[in-house]
């Protein structure tokens, strides 16, 4: 604490007491000037301010940490000493008080002490309490900060774990598809293997980054869709629309793929033809809004037990959204018209401060 603020606070308090004193004298009908009264009070509190600051400066930490023994053996004697000292200094400043009764210096000190001893102890002990209160408050703030930091770390660890949960799930399902495709159509299996490798390469490069540019997430999803298109041999019409202003918007990595995977495994995979999947990303009043719509069989039929990764993907997305955005996000899944299922996600729109440049070169 800056000494000027500390002492200034005391002086201000003194001035208030002086004013109050003057008003009460007036209300009792005594005619008394404001200035001498104010001077006496402010000087008294100024002295208190200086003394207390010195106590804080020399003994602050010890007072804050003091046990009962220290309080009894040190602070109590100190309180008596400070009370006396304050009056001794004050008496130096006002040699004519009490007015009209000339006394020796020591008589004046004793006179003042007699009138003020209770007040003095009160002031001193309040200040001691204040010192200890400051310490409690600081320790409380530190603890609170540490707790907040811990919960952030916990949330990040959870998000990481959730991200890690997705990759193997998706990886093994695709490898299984390739394994079965190998026996039927070698070039198709070859292509799927290339596509899967590209997806893995991107995933590995991205590492554990949790928020990525929408353009990267869409690229990943388009690659995934190309893979699915191969698996479903063109039975599903895929439509993608992204607001160009949102290419650099930040989104949780692997947000869309599990939802699209879910759309395939629970809806589109049960259609023989004319399936439709649309992904639309737009802006809605400062928020980013993703709408994923798929045709299929609606929501009502009980989920097939053999469907790949039942529920894991969607629960994962919901959890990560909650961990990233708290109550600022929304996730809903509902039937939109005949047998269509729509997933709508919204969360606050954020942009990357320094978007990573893409690797590009020009030449011959």
């Amino acid at each position: 604490m800056h000494p000027a603020i500390f002492v200034g606070g005391f002086v201000f308090l003194g001035a208030l007491f002086g004013l109050q004193n003057w008003i009460s004298e007036h209300s009792w009908g005594y005619k008394i000037h404001l200035m001498p009264l104010l001077r006496a009070w402010t000087v008294q509190y100024f002295i208190w301010g200086v003394i207390c600051w010195l106590v804080w400066f020399w003994l602050g930490r010890s007072i804050q940490k003091a046990g009962l023994r220290w309080i009894l053996t040190r602070i109590i004697p100190l309180s008596a000493l400070v009370s006396l000292g304050e009056e001794m200094i004050w008496a130096l400043f006002f040699p004519n008080v009490p007015i009209g009764r000339p006394m020796s210096y020591w008589h004046r000190v004793l006179f003042e002490l007699d009138a003020e001893i209770i007040d003095n102890f009160l002031i001193f002990w309040l200040v001691i309490l204040l010192f200890r209160g400051v310490d409690y408050y600081q320790r409380y703030r530190e603890k609170e900060g540490a707790a907040a930091q811990l919960s952030v770390q916990l949330a990040q660890a959870q998000i990481r774990a959730l991200r890690m949960q997705l990759n193997p799930h998706f990886l093994f399902n695709t490898m299984n598809s390739i394994s079965s495709m190998m026996r039927i159509d070698v070039p198709a299996a070859d292509l799927m293997l290339e596509q899967l490798s590209s997806l893995l390469r991107i995933t590995l490069e991205r590492g554990e980054v949790q928020l990525i540019a929408l353009s990267d997430e869409m690229e990943f999803m388009e690659m995934y869709l190309a893979l699915q298109d191969r698996r479903f041999s063109g039975r599903v019409r895929q439509e993608i629309h992204v607001d160009p202003a949102l290419h650099d918007a930040l989104v949780p990595a692997m947000l869309l793929q599990p939802i699209v995977e879910n759309a395939y495994s629970h809806g589109l995979s049960r259609l023989d033809r004319d399936g439709r999947l649309s992904v639309e990303v737009g802006r809605d009043r400062g928020r980013l809004k993703v709408i994923i719509l798929n045709s299929g069989i609606g929501l009502n039929p009980a989920p097939r037990k053999d469907a790949q990764g039942t529920g894991v993907g969607l629960a994962n997305v919901k959890n990560r959204l909650r961990l990233h955005y708290g109550t600022q996000q929304s996730f809903s899944i509902y039937e939109a018209g005949a047998n269509n299922v729509q997933v709508t996600i919204t969360f606050p729109l954020q942009f990357s401060a320094n978007p990573t440049p893409t690797l590009t070169g020009y030449g011959v």
Binding site: E194, S197, S198, E222, P244, L359, T360, G361, G363, V364
Partner: protein, 250 residues
């Protein structure tokens, strides 16, 4: 006839290439090597037209091999197609005028298009033996190829394959015959790099490859549009119309 050498330290990787290249006509594999030293000797001995080169090899990496080979000023380097599991050398490969950069595992289609490119280049330099790719570069200030990463692949895209380019805020979308690629780039910068004899800006947010323009149309509302050979219609601003009219009347 194209003579090719395959350099890769993994026997299965060499086997795959040999297997897939069997279907190429007018194409012969004249040797295989598994280490850097073997590759240098083999290439010096057989003087192939084309070299399939892995980057991580025992001894030296692929670029060191090229360095060693080009130490002799009289030796004509073969065309190079890199085959590697790593994407981080792509720019370097592009800068030394490699034909293509295949990320493992690649499909037969991807290999075929790379070989096709190599064939074109080899035939072109056979027709005009004095020039090679690197020397041509100095002739024109414009870009002939763009290297970038798209959907986990490295593309050495020839600008002649670009149909049209559209602006999307801080990005551009480059459309080819079968797909489109999103690049973080500005229209102005890209326009500067492209040969104006080949590409024309028809709108604040689009550039078309004149090679694929079928006609310029006046719409019902008095606006203009460029129609590409594939039926794609691209809006055109009035201010750019005179430029394309001039071109059409040539």
């Amino acid at each position: 006839m194209i003579n090719a050498v395959i350099a890769d330290d993994e026997v299965l990787a060499r086997h795959k290439l040999r297997q897939l290249l069997r279907e190429e006509t007018e194409f012969e594999i004249v040797g295989e090597s598994a280490t850097a030293a073997e590759t240098i000797d083999l290439v010096r001995l057989t003087k192939p037209d084309l070299l399939f080169l892995d980057i991580r090899m025992p001894g030296m990496d692929g670029f060191d091999i090229i360095g060693a080979l080009s130490a002799d000023p009289d030796f004509v380097l073969p065309r190079i197609i890199f085959t590697t599991a790593y994407d981080r050398y792509a720019i370097r490969a592009f800068e030394i005028h490699a034909v293509d950069y295949l990320l493992k595992p690649f499909t037969v289609e991807r290999l075929r298009s790379a070989v096709e490119r190599a064939r074109e280049q080899i035939q072109a330099s056979a027709a005009a033996p004095s020039s090679n790719g690197a020397a041509d570069a100095q002739d024109s200030p414009y870009t002939k190829r763009i290297v970038f990463k798209s959907r986990g692949r490295i593309l050495f895209l020839h600008v002649s394959d670009i149909r049209w380019i559209g602006a999307e805020e801080n990005y551009v979308r480059i459309s080819t015959e079968s797909e489109s690629h999103l690049l973080r780039e500005t229209m102005t910068r890209l326009e500067e790099k492209l040969d104006p004899q080949m590409f024309l800006r028809v709108h604040r947010s689009s550039i078309v490859n004149l090679q694929y323009v079928k006609e310029v149309r006046t719409e019902k509302d008095g606006e203009f549009a460029v129609l590409l050979a594939n039926g794609q219609k691209i809006a055109m601003s009035r201010s750019y119309r005179s430029r394309i009219q001039g071109w059409l009347q040539r």
